[in-house]
Assembly symmetry: C2
Amino acid sequence: MLNTDDVEREEVTAANTEFYRAFGAGDFSAMDALWAHKSDVVCIHPGWPPVSGRANVMASWIGILSNPPEPAVQNAEECIYLMGEAAMVVCFETIGEMILTATNLFVREERVWRMVHHHAGVTEHRPRSAIQIPSGSLH
Amino acid sequence: MLNTDDVEREEVTAANTEFYRAFGAGDFSAMDALWAHKSDVVCIHPGWPPVSGRANVMASWIGILSNPPEPAVQNAEECIYLMGEAAMVVCFETIGEMILTATNLFVREERVWRMVHHHAGVTEHRPRSAIQIPSGSLH
């Protein structure tokens, strides 16, 4: 029988999976639905400054999803962190040969996990290399 | 008189400020103290894969703080997000001419806000440009 944490991990994993499905499919309606409606939201797309406020975040997704990356983004190696009413997913994203790391944050709104933050940036490290700590990096 | 949210914002801002003070000063002892001791921790340094687990995260900081960036990292334009027992700071970092964006996540451990995640990556956008949504970016 699953305990509460197991159930929450499955729920958060499902919310994260739905984010990447909507992203990859260019499904703006689903993307709009999965972001929080009551909590403040913010988004850091790769190389961008932070975009804050629901209207600005959704405007950024309209632009991105009108011409979604090809091949479609895929997520890998999700790690789930539960923090009461908030939950975080750290994972890799791949877009063809391009590899990114992502932090996705969710909060509960009326029992449903909704996204409040997405932060992604490029890396040269492939999934399954996460244990190795690179040397000579700046920061 | 400050309400609870105001007090929490001040506490989280102080924890974030202490993170950048320790980082800039190469103060590993302070850096070690401010990361969570009980909760799972993870860190995405710029361009790195996720580093997970306290021992690995601290090993990464020993490497970085043994030769900290010059000039010292500075933080700017902190935005605080309160989520019950978790709190997030999204901010800019500057290291001389280099500009980065960061997501810093904290949880309460025995009433003290401790860091559980740091994710930083480079951007070409300067602080105070955050309202402008760039066009033509991939994602």
